[in-house]
Amino acid sequence: MAYKIMIVDDEPANLRLLERLFRNEHTVVTAESGAEALKALEQHDVALLITDQRMPGMTGIELVERTAPLRPHMVRIILTGYTDVESLVEAINGGHVYKYVTKPWNNDDLRLTVSRALEYYETNRSRHELEMINRRLVARLAEIQELAALD
């Protein structure tokens, strides 16, 4: 299934490469900074966010934190060459980051990670949808029972 993927990196060559990797299967939206990304997220319903960690202005982790209330179901991956993982582990354990991938990455490995992340997204989304439908059905059922009782 095709999804919307957003890629954030201050290095344009990386953006282009990543776009090439995924544009055949999915719709790719790119941004060169956290601020740009947040703006774009208001308009696009993005399923998966892949962001670099070390960026001027806003770091990847900061961006991830800011998107949490905006797009609660979006899956977030941090791509980083930064080897000290203390703060990254914190972010993952905080529940907002699905995975972190080290730079340089292997194309095939990254593709696999992305498809798994999207499966995860799909599972959560459909479950959430089913919950919504369920609630509506329960409410509708209650309405019908009320009407039936009046007869």
Binding site: L17, T83, P104, N107
Partner: protein
């Protein structure tokens, strides 16, 4: 005070050894076979000094053996052991005791002999009491000066030795600091370079993969086009272009260009990775590290020594060795140091063997080479800063002293064994858990 008995003062009665005579000691031993003379001297000097008398040299020696005296006033001419003989013995056995010889006017030769043997002064009989007092004063003063001189000399020598030690220690520490700072900035440089290179190295590598696929795609289309005959009006033009661009070789070239670039990108990526592992500046904390990773990345960085066809390297790693508490960057410097030394010792022929194993709570890493070895007289100096057996200009002689300092800082030990002509083995032991380390182990 006149007394023929040994003084009962516990302080001065403690030991007869001259070195323990206290300052201000004012005991005088008067030796003369004539009793009137003994009494005369003693009464004259008794007011200011503690006087003890002896009848002859023999008795004098007994007294001297049991109590310390600042001064001996002795007759030259006595029955039994002569005055000069007494003087000789005093000079030899009681060097802190001054001696003044007393003699008759007609014995000047003896007096001269006595002075040569070591008497401080001499008195001629008969002598007046003023002269006696003055002579005694001078003798005691001279004695004090000499003794103080010796004491100062001893103190100075001690201080000098201490200073020399402190200086050596300071030099070692300074060398360490200088080297550490150099390494720190080198490490920072390496980390900075690695960081800057990481992105381009990464996307070049990633793009190469895609380029391969692109080229394969174009090739496929091209082969398909080539299989179909071209309309006459374009066939000529196509053939001309093909000739111009060297079409026959072009596709083959494309393949090898992409393959070479891909290979190069891979190597760049690996070197950058190694630089990061090696400098580990991002991880400049004390944490658990896999020593094998550090050893391997260091070995990879030393391809000029250990690359294909150069120094033979054997690795014998203990897979059960757990991660060790350490500063990864610093230990990597240790491995680098030892591995470079080993490679240089081995030269063209020989083997370097790296072994790791666990001994209870300690990780042991040995780096053994079959090179020319270290001479026994150098062995105890190799960890000294600036000590080197290399010719001037080659190496700083700091590597091993830094290594020593780093190992020490980790609570570990480093030992070296060597046989000239056979090889050298360095054994580094690091406690696995910093908290559990016991000093002096293994």
């Amino acid at each position: 005070m006149v007394t023929d008995l040994p003084n009962d003062n516990p302080t001065t009665a403690r030991l007869a050894h001259p070195d323990f005579i206290e300052e201000g000691d004012d005991r005088i031993l008067i030796v003369d076979d004539e009793e009137p003379l003994r009494k005369l001297f003693a009464s004259c000097l008794g007011e200011r000094y503690t006087c003890v008398t002896a009848r002859d040299a023999q008795e004098a020696l007994v007294r001297l053996a049991s109590d310390p005296f600042a001064l001996v006033i002795s007759d030259v001419n006595m029955p039994g052991l002569s005055g000069v003989e007494l003087l000789r013995r005093v000079v030899e056995h009681f060097p802190d005791t001054a001696v003044v010889m007393v003699s008759g006017v007609d014995r000047t030769q003896r007096v001269l002999d006595a002075m040569r043997v070591g008497a401080f002064d001499y008195l001629l009989k008969p002598c007046d009491m003023d002269t006696l007092e003055l002579t005694v004063e001078r003798a005691l003063e001279r004695r004090t000066l000499l003794r103080d001189g010796r004491r100062y000399k001893r103190d100075l020598e001690q201080r000098n030795a201490e200073l020399a030690r402190s200086k050596a220690e300071l030099e070692r520490l300074q060398a360490q600091i200088v080297h550490s700072e150099k390494m720190a900035s080198l490490g920072q440089l390496a980390a900075g370079v690695a960081h800057e290179l990481n992105n381009p190295a990464g996307f070049i590598y990633g793009n190469m993969e895609l380029l391969r696929q692109c080229v394969a795609g174009i090739e496929r289309l091209q082969k398909y086009y080539d299989s179909a005959p071209l309309p006459a009006e374009v066939a000529g033009g196509a053939a001309a272009i093909k000739k111009e661009i060297g079409y026959d070789h072009l596709l083959a070239d494309l393949h090898s260009i992409v393959a070479d670039c891909h290979g190069g990108a891979e190597r760049i990526r690996d070197v950058v990775q190694n630089l990061r592992l090696f400098s580990r500046l991002d991880e400049a904390e004390f944490k658990k590290v896999d020593l094998h990773e550090g050893l391997d990345s260091t070995i990879r960085l030393l391809s000029q020594y250990y690359g294909a066809g150069r120094v033979a390297l054997e690795r014998d790693y203990d897979a059960a060795l757990p991660p060790v508490d350490c500063y990864a960057g610093q230990l990597n410097q240790v491995w680098m140091n030892l591995l470079v030394n080993a490679a240089q010792a081995v030269g063209d022929a020989g083997v370097v063997r790296v072994t790791t194993r666990r001994e209870n709570e300690t990780a042991i890493v040995t780096i053994k080479d079959t090179g020319r070895g270290i001479a026994p007289e150098h062995l105890k100096k190799i960890f000294d800063p600036f000590f080197t057996t290399k010719p001037v200009g080659e190496g700083t002689g700091l590597g091993l002293s830094i290594t020593y300092g780093i190992v020490e800082r980790h609570g570990g030990t480093i030992k070296v064994e060597s046989r000239a002509g056979h090889g050298t083995t360095f054994t580094v032991a690091i406690p696995i858990d910093a908290g559990k380390q016991s000093p002096g182990e293994p």
